[in-house]
């Protein structure tokens, strides 16, 4: 295995392959950074170009695109509060407040370093522990998916500021939005109100752009006529890079935990980077000694989200390479690319095609380092974008949101939906109702619904729904984690009041 890994690394450093990887990473960053363009879209668009390349070069380029896009989505999330892909939702929670404080470079360097760290760790797992982990991923059945979704929903407790029922209501609204379109079981067309375009459901990116980007522009730039997105000009410097790297290495537990969460969620087929980053962010808040710092602009929040969503990418390749089950939509495109090069996932990939497979895995690894370099030094350019006066920047952003929403399905209705969500997001912000809870429901809805309905059907067939849903080992672990996650904020608040009765009385 080690020989194959070293040989794979050799392939990556051949001039042509390295150039392909570099181009892939840059293209990936661009696709990740432009709202409306996703890693899946980037991979799908560039797969045809890899036909003419050797399998190793082609796959190395795709590795670059995948890893690059996992970092690229943090750029708009930080600068304009718009996640480039759904995987960067949690990055906005602290990335944008950091940018508003004039610390955009801090956030961008954190994203680059944390992305690389997460990717690196997940790649090591992919290279050395793929087969046993893939076996474990097969143990995920409907009830496990249901409880994983419920665990994801408990993040609402962290996202809700103040009255928790308000956050839960947001989550329920998101769940209802997720039912728009064809039902996964039963085939009913739901809540389309006569628009056939809605049969495919509400696109997540459209919702993200609407809920996160538009309200910020409408309130701050259009409404209050702020001249700049930030309260302070961003002055990038080399010192910031050193500071951020030093601070991140003082948080080894956070980095390792986030990367493991990303890897584990990645190898559960169907659970994507958005769930990974949200769960990781939630755990970061929960276990931190200073949870009050989150949401106000801390690099720890950015690191938790980015390490997890970048670790998810190699994690999602574990079931793909070993069992042929793609763990995420981009992994499905990579599966197509493998098949087109005549390679079938499974044991053969690690024996007959070990050379190419390990070149691909090492490509992912080296791409992580390239992301650190490009992201860290690119932060000098990217972070300055936010210094452009809002009067000139906001129209470009608005225009990009419209084009991005349209380009996903070439559909004007999606742009209208984005606008409606933008207005709802604006009203929610004014009513102190965090729209992230709605988005969370929208993300987890299909997951929870499929898991729930399938579990009920399977449970009835097995004789007991409750036993089927609760007595499987993974389900039990997930139930325990969900309970802990939901009750933790209450415990933390009780502990805080006990430690500091004066503050507790003030809060009352």
């Amino acid at each position: 295995m080690l020989d194959a890994a070293i040989s794979g690394l050799g392939h990556v450093f051949e001039f042509y392959n390295f150039l392909s990887l570099f181009i892939g990473v840059v293209m990936g960053i661009l696709f990740g950074a432009l709202p409306g363009l996703t890693a899946t879209m980037g991979l799908a668009l560039l797969v045809p170009f890899t036909f003419t390349m050797s399998p190793a070069s082609g796959l190395i380029m795709l590795a670059g695109i995948y890893v690059g896009s996992m970092y690229g989505d943090a750029i708009p999330a930080t600068l304009i509060n718009t996640p480039g892909t759904p995987a960067a939702i949690a990055t906005t929670f602290d990335g944008f407040p950091l940018a508003q404080k004039g610390m955009a470079q801090h956030a961008l360097v954190t994203a680059a370093v944390a992305s690389s760290f997460g990717s690196l760790l997940a790649n090591i797992v992919l290279a050395f522990a793929a087969p046993p982990l893939a076996e474990a991923s097969l143990k995920f059945g409907p009830s496990e998916y249901f409880w994983l979704g419920v665990f994801g929903l408990t993040i609402i407790a962290t996202l809700s500021s103040g009255f928790i029922f308000k956050g839960l209501l947001g989550g329920a609204m998101g769940l209802i939005l997720s039912t728009v379109g064809m039902s996964p079981l039963g085939g009913d067309v739901r809540l389309t109100f006569g628009f056939p375009e809605l049969q495919a459901g509400i696109d997540l990116i459209v919702a993200l752009i609407g809920f996160f980007c538009l309200p910020e522009i409408l309130t701050s730039i259009v409404g209050q006529r702020r001249r700049s997105y930030t309260s302070r000009q961003v002055n990038p410097s080399l010192k910031v890079i050193g500071e951020v790297i030093r601070d991140l290495f003082r948080q080894p537990v956070l980095m390792l935990r986030s990367s493991f969460i990303g890897t584990i969620i990645g190898f559960a087929p169907g659970a994507g980077g958005n769930i990974a980053s949200m769960v990781s962010y939630n755990e970061a808040v929960r276990w931190d000694k200073h949870p009050e710092e989150y949401g106000k602009g801390t690099i720890k929040g950015v690191a938790a989200s980015e390490a997890a969503n970048s670790a998810m990418a190699p994690g999602s390749l574990i079931p793909l390479l070993t069992l042929g089950i793609p763990g995420s939509p981009p992994a499905a495109v990579i599966l197509g690319a493998l098949m087109l090069h005549g390679m079938r996932p499974g044991a053969e990939l690690f024996s007959a095609y070990a050379d190419v497979t390990y070149a691909f895995i090492m490509g992912l690894l080296v791409a992580a380092f390239l992301v650190t370099l490009i992201g860290t030094f690119g932060s000098f350019v990217f972070s300055r974008i936010i210094n452009i006066p809002a009067r000139f920047l906001a129209p470009v952003v608005v225009f990009m949101t419209i084009l991005g929403s349209y380009a996903i399905r070439n559909n004007v209705l999606d742009v209208w939906i984005m606008l409606v969500f933008g207005i709802i997001g604006l009203v929610s912000n004014k009513l102190k109702f965090h729209p992230a809870t709605i988005v969370l429901g929208l993300i987890l809805g299909p997951f929870v619904e499929e898991g729930l309905v399938q579990s009920i059907l399977a449970g009835k067939a097995a004789g007991s729904v409750i036993r089927y849903m609760t007595l499987q080992p993974i389900s039990m672990v997930l139930i325990a984690m969900s309970l802990m996650s939901a009750l933790w904020p209450l415990y933390a608040s009780w502990r805080e009041k006990k430690r500091n009765p004066a503050r507790g009385a003030r809060e009352k």
Binding site: L37, L45, G162, F163, F165, K166, L168, L169, A172, M173, L175, I176, T179, S183, L185, G186, G187, D188, R190, L191, F193, L218, T219, I221, V222, G223, Q224, R225, A390, R391, F392, A394, P395, V396, V398, F399, M400, I402, L403, Y406, A407, N410, V412, V415, W416, L419, I423, L426, K430, L431, K432, F433, V448, E449, L452, V453, I456
Partner: protein, 150 residues
């Protein structure tokens, strides 16, 4: 500006959304409707809690900070609505040139100053053309050509 009862607004909104969903999903099959029904129960219950809180311990908020903010946001939204309404009819390029220029002028301190008009027109030409080239030719996205010209 007057203060609004945020909890009451949220509670009423939840019940209205829940009501619309309830009425439009009664014909679904048991499999298609199961999850919707569970979520509806949650919406009505949580909406009722919000209404209750709105009466007992309401959270009062000031929706707009000033009349100027309200006017600006309304104008901004109307511009977007008009742009989206005309885009499929008049085509992506003409409507985008006009929208971009108008939006840029709207955000300027002196919209009708000669410098502002020229600057907005130039930016509109460059930005819209650039994105059109990238999306239409680079990514092959079929942007609306305009029903009026077909």
């Amino acid at each position: 500006m007057s203060m609004l009862n945020a909890d009451l607004i949220i509670g009423i909104f939840a019940w209205v959304v829940g009501g619309v969903v309830f009425v439009t999903t009664r014909e679904l099959s048991p499999l298609g409707g199961m999850f919707v029904n569970y979520v509806l129960v949650a919406i009505f219950f949580l909406g009722a809690l919000m209404l209750l809180k709105g009466f007992i311990k309401p959270e009062k908020i000031q929706f707009f900070e000033s009349a100027g903010e309200r006017r600006n946001i309304i104008i901004g939204v109307v511009m977007l609505v008009v742009y989206l309404y005309f885009m499929p009819k008049a085509g992506f390029l003409p409507t985008s040139y006009i929208f971009y220029m108008a939006f840029n002028m709207f955000l300027a301190e002196a919209p009708w100053a000669r410098k502002s008009i020229l600057q907005s027109a130039a930016l509109s030409a460059v930005v819209v053309t650039f994105f059109y080239m990238v999306f239409h030719y680079g990514l092959g996205v079929p942007l609306p050509a305009g029903a009026w010209w077909e």
